[in-house]
């Protein structure tokens, strides 16, 4: 187990390097002079620009800039301290350390993603098991058809429709935001939950689709196993057979999709935060992109990628822990 852990940890290093190199290069090759974008000052002469360029080390060769970006400049000539020491640069527009802005915005985004994951997992798994038990019957077909529809409807269209129905027409749920505008500091829990419902549902719908399909396939596989037949022939009730013997074992491979789920939810939250005006990381990225505030965009991309890599790592470790057969292969 320890050797496996160490090997698996070492494997993440090239991936982390790749992520940072790609992000770094994409922004490097963006059109336009970074100095112009940074200062917007028409009184700047060519010499001023040159000086700034030297101060910010933008005149150094690319590999050197990348090294400084990663581990910082230890001679102290350049401002970078390196992302491995938590320095993701400073926002051009807000003039604040990016990591500080990120820390503020990650909370609201986590509320959404965790909520969506909960809805998706609970509903998805239940639907998947039901679908497998009633294979080929009406309820199975309905659930499968619904999961394809959930896949196909664009999240923003679903969001707009839900806003129109629940917000505008029936007026039972808020249209967006995290708390009512012009509200006092303390907002009670119920109001917060009301604001959470629509965004988490929109974000969770795709996850329900994936989960139910996956769970259906796994349960079908398990239902054909000998021990399920044994359990049935022992005279156990259907409920016990399905939920105690079958579902438990069907759940094991589900951990495999935790990694991809993190990717999908992080991406999806950008769209959902935009529709529901949710003050999270996704909206920060969109704002930064439209203002060409690239340090912010780079930081969010790199941190999100680290989260994804960590999620994949966790998945692999969990899989080995719950299913010892995996270790052999």
């Amino acid at each position: 187990m320890t050797t496996y852990l160490i090997r698996r940890l070492l494997q993440t290093i090239p991936t982390l390097l790749g992520v940072t190199i790609i992000t770094f290069l994409m922004v490097q090759f963006s059109p336009g002079d970074p100095i112009d974008m940074l200062f917007f000052d028409p009184t700047f002469t060519a010499e001023d620009k040159e000086l700034k360029r030297q101060q910010l080390c933008l005149d150094r060769p690319l590999w050197q800039q990348y090294t400084f970006y990663m581990v910082g400049d230890w001679s102290g000539e350049c401002p970078n301290q390196g992302i491995i020491f938590g320095d993701f640069g400073t926002s051009i527009r807000k003039d604040r350390p990016v990591i500080e802005m990120y820390a503020e915005k990650i909370g609201p985004t986590l509320q959404l993603t965790v909520g969506a994951m909960l809805i998706g997992t609970v509903v998805g798994i239940s639907l998947g098991i039901i679908s497998a038990i009633f294979r080929g019957k009406l309820s199975d077909n309905l659930i499968r058809f619904m999961s394809v529809i959930f896949d196909a409807v664009p999240s923003f269209f679903l969001g707009i429709m839900l806003i129109i129905l629940f917000g505008v027409r029936w007026g039972i749920l808020p249209l967006g935001g995290m708390v009512p505008i012009r509200s006092s500091e303390t907002v009670n829990l119920w109001v917060r939950i009301q604001h959470l419902i629509l965004p988490t549902v929109v974000l969770g719908v795709g996850w329900i689709a994936v989960m139910s399909r996956y769970m259906r396939a796994e349960t079908l596989e398990v239902l054909g196993q000998d021990y399920v037949r044994t359990a049935k022939s022992k005279g156990l009730t259907n409920f016990k057979v399905y939920f105690k013997h079958a579902a438990r074992n069907a759940l094991i491979p589900i951990v495999v999709i935790i990694g991809p789920a993190i990717t999908a939810l992080l991406g999806g939250s950008v769209v959902v935060e935009r529709i529901f005006n949710w003050p999270g990381m996704g909206r920060m990225v969109l704002e930064a992109l439209s203002q060409r505030d690239f340090p912010v965009v780079m930081a969010v991309t790199v941190i999100s990628s680290v989260l994804v890599i960590a999620g994949n790592l966790l998945t692999d470790i969990l899989l080995v822990m719950v299913d010892p057969r995996v270790r052999l292969s």
Binding site: P14, T15, G18, V19, I22, T23, M26, V27, F29, S30, P31, V148, I149, D151, A152, V153, P154, S155, F156, F157, I160, M161, I163, I164, G167, V168, R169, L175, T263, L266, G267, G268, V270, V271, R274, I275, V285, L286, L289, S290, R292, V297, V300, T301, S304, S305, V308, I309, N312
Partner: protein
């Protein structure tokens, strides 16, 4: 004395004779076709997609016949509700919504299909190369795949969308270069497992070159998997296009796409009399993607019944 080549020739002749008989066994593709024909849901989806495709491809003649143009602005027709002249009404610029909707379909569908084609080309080539050469080349390709898979794809697309002025062809290229890893990994895995099959070993034992074995025995067996992936890819890419346009980093107006039509109409959620501007584009995306996914599932059931 027979050489290996002539054994192959004999076998081929034998097979051809067999195929000419009346009760010749059905080929893999013939069986798949029969299965699809029996699958009512898939057939319905194919028909709907066919209609949407036809309307999009013929959008210019249809619009000419109706006397409307997707780019004409007419301030007198501003916010005109659906009528005989403007079938789906007109927007804030007086642009005919029906004309824009079917014209946008052409762009959305083209982006979906061309990007999927592009992705499959890159994906299959790299997947075969990785599995064929193995070693260092395989390591590099796998590293690229792991890296690209670790960056949330929407972020990659957003950055590229912010850096460049997005036109439909550019979007196809961007999708092509960011979305190939899934196909590559799948093809690579398939080739690895097919390499161990007896018929591949037999081919090698008969003296066939590696290239011949790959093209003749491995590639045809990868194709079914690839077709299933392709159908999913077309749908997902159309969704990605719509999402990018919706967030404002995709194809921009005046060129209409279903995504940017929806973005523009989003501001009217409080005005029920203008819902005719919101619904059509959203419904079109949903129906099209839904049909593409259903066809994908139908193809999967037909080509690989074990997965059902």
């Amino acid at each position: 004395m027979t050489t290996p080549a002539s054994i192959q020739d004999l076998l081929r002749e034998e097979n051809q004779k067999e195929a000419l008989k009346d009760e010749a066994p059905l080929s893999f593709w013939q069986i798949a076709l029969i299965r699809i024909r029996r699958d009512k849901l898939t057939m319905a989806a194919i028909i709907v997609i066919g209609i949407i495709l036809a309307a999009s491809l013929l959008s210019t003649p249809i619009n000419n016949a109706l006397g409307v143009d997707p780019f004409d602005t007419d301030l007198l027709a501003q916010f005109e509700p659906p009528s005989a002249k403007h079938l789906l009404g007109a927007d804030d610029l007086g642009q005919d919504q029906f004309a824009r909707l079917i014209y946008a379909g052409r762009i959305s569908l083209a982006i979906g299909f061309f990007s999927a084609f592009f992705i499959l080309t890159i994906g299959i080539t790299l997947g075969m190369v990785a599995a064929y050469f193995g070693g260092f080349v395989d390591d590099i390709i796998m590293w690229l795949i792991n890296t690209l898979n670790s960056i949330p794809q929407l972020y990659l697309l957003l950055i590229l969308g912010a850096l460049f002025e997005i036109t439909p062809p550019l979007l196809v290229i961007i999708f092509g270069f960011t979305a190939w890893p899934f196909t590559t990994r799948l093809v690579r895995g398939q080739v690895f497992s097919l390499r161990e099959r007896e018929y591949v070993m037999a081919s090698t034992a008969l003296g066939a070159s590696n290239m011949y074995t790959i093209m003749k025995h491995i590639l045809p067996n990868v194709i079914p998997t690839v077709i299933i992936v392709a159908a999913r890819a077309v749908g997902n890419l159309m969704l990605a296009e719509a999402i990018l346009s919706f967030i404002g980093f995709g194809v921009r107006p005046p060129t209409p796409t279903w995504g940017n039509m929806l973005t523009k109409s989003q501001q009217y959620v409080f005005e029920p009399d203008k819902y005719y501007l919101i619904l059509p584009a959203g419904i079109m995306i949903t129906i099209t993607v839904l049909c593409v996914f259903i066809i994908g599932d139908g193809l999967r059931d037909a080509l690989d019944p074990k997965l059902k």
